[in-house]
């Protein structure tokens, strides 16, 4: 099966999440091939897991002051600050049948693509179940997965250049969350590519694409008009709505 790879583009938070869902719809109906997309967030945004309480996780006043958008994902997992300059996000959207049935194995597979890309950048990284990739004990990438109506979605982040100040202004990180980790502070938990290798974002994207497509038949592609139109509809119906974003 030939994969479509959509190169890095910036979208706002609502469209980014809506595009994942719209592509999933198109994959389900057989109109689009399995897709790997790389993207950024403009403006910077916080995404929260679908089971999180927005008020527990996000300083909404700080977000408003800083012009940071907030969106609830369809996937579980934690709150993520997606810095416009400092982060690369990916999504893998495919018929469930071509990915591992076992959720943990599928996490391992896709995270291995990221680890292999980091290896190409000479950054040794390890997978830590359920969904983290660490470099020297610090998180450089996190992912979340869902399967709906026969379609597999895993999306996640790769930190390129962290802005701890901004990150910790907009995220509320409770002490309980880090209580089982032998670290001085939450800030010590994260790292980024630029801390380990002085590489351009383009080079990082090139290595990610190389690794994600290894052994696959693939071609570069773009979103179809139908996908973009469906995504805009999903923004109106779901991702921009308080009923969705404030549902917990």
């Amino acid at each position: 099966m030939k994969w479509r790879v959509v190169d890095f583009e910036y979208w706002n938070a609502w469209m980014n999440m809506a595009l994942d869902e719209a592509i999933g719809d198109a994959v389900r109906s057989g109109k689009s091939p399995p897709t790997i997309r790389f993207y950024g967030w403009d403006p910077s945004a916080v995404s929260i897991g679908c089971f999180q309480s927005i008020k527990d996780e996000v300083d909404l006043d700080a977000c408003r002051r800083m012009g940071v958008d907030v969106v609830r994902r369809r996937t579980g997992g934690g709150a993520v600050y997606h810095d416009k300059e400092g982060e690369i996000t990916y999504s893998v959207i495919a018929p469930e049948g071509i990915m591992e049935k076992d959720i943990n194995k599928a996490y391992f597979t896709v995270c291995s693509w990221i680890i292999d890309a980091l290896d190409l950048m000479e950054i040794p990284a390890t997978f830590v179940p359920i969904n983290d990739i660490l470099v020297e004990g610090r998180k450089i990438s996190g992912s979340a997965q869902t399967r709906r109506g026969g379609v597999f979605l895993q999306h996640g982040t790769v930190l390129y250049n962290i802005s701890p100040g901004k990150m910790f202004s907009v995220l509320r990180v409770g002490r309980t969350k880090i209580s089982d980790k032998n670290i001085a502070s939450f800030e010590d938990r994260v790292t980024s590519i630029l801390r380990h290798a002085k590489l351009s974002k383009d080079r990082v994207l090139q290595e990610l694409r190389r690794s994600f497509t290894k052994g696959k038949e693939w071609e570069k592609g773009a979103y179809t008009e139908e996908e973009k139109s469906r995504a805009r509809q999903l923004v109106l119906e779901r991702y921009s709505r308080e009923e969705w974003n404030f549902s917990r």
């Binding site: 897991g49 089971f51 579980g76 359920i130 997965q145 399967r147 309980t176 209580s179 089982d180």
Partner: protein, 95 residues
Amino acid sequence: MQNITAELKVKGGKLVRVRIACEENMVFHIEITGDFFIHPEEGLDAIENVLVGLRLPVSASEVERLVNEVVTKGNIKMMGFSPMDLAMLVAGALA
């Protein structure tokens, strides 16, 4: 109406919070939040629903039995916390 909040960071797992509203020694409403995963995602509503109506006092084993039932029936996978973790959290909050 009595409102109770409790949270647990599962060792090697995820953070789970519960907000429980009780009235006349009965669980009136429960909301479970956190950075865990549940597949399918709708499974969380089913888990919450099965706990509404619980009469106090409640034991962890009773909560675990109810959660296990709904998890088995709905073929629900919980990742980052277990029915026992949730049971301990809920029973501890209601103690």
